[in-house]
Symmetry: C2
Subunit: 104 residues, 2 copies
Amino acid sequence: MADLWEVISDPNRRQLVQLLGQGEKTVTELSVHFPVSRSAISQHLLFLVEVGLIRARKEGRNRYYSLKPEGVSKLQGMFERFWTNELDLLVTEAKEIHHNKGEM
Amino acid sequence: MADLWEVISDPNRRQLVQLLGQGEKTVTELSVHFPVSRSAISQHLLFLVEVGLIRARKEGRNRYYSLKPEGVSKLQGMFERFWTNELDLLVTEAKEIHHNKGEM
DNA sequence: TGGATAGGTTAGCGTACGCTAACGCATTTA
DNA sequence: TAAATGCGTTAGCGTACGCTAACCTATCCA
């Protein structure tokens, strides 16, 4: 079974999510930004539909893809569950180190 | 070249990061939590060292692995760059939808 | 009606990846 | 000193994945 982590493990899929963040887009509109074939993009989009992150709206010859708010929300939840308090503490620690370096 | 996204694309590596969030641990201590061999865990750890997310401290026969604050910081930065404002807006939108549903 | 355009489908290819098994090297303990 | 323990290294295996090429369907326009 596919999970949301797989979505963001591929660079092209990550970029697709970001592009769709700007609003709904067709496959060819999206394909322009990638070096790979339209077919490859189409397959990525179908995968994103499958995991519930985006949806497709048909209008004439075009298919407009857009992000599903619930899907994006799930994605965020996934990140938040992963990012434990311990990790957050280490980040502030890193900032302090960097800050001290800057002062020396 | 390996990047930090690859780190979190594997379930076992994600769990390793979280376990190391609790403090430094040896390979065998970590291996206990996984169904795979110690060798597999060792290879994951070497990868995490390679990308600069963790470091190893040798003490006798043991090797204590721990998170590098700068590495964790980079990981956070990576997430933050990915998570655009547009995506954030969609999340609040999702919450409103869910809220309305609850009221109906 | 015929071509052009948008997009889904499928087979197949190359390759990267996670894992195990087996071994080697230190270090500790009996 | 011999056995045991902790860990890294390597070869090789199976498989999943991203991609292309080729084809098909549906819709639009001349």
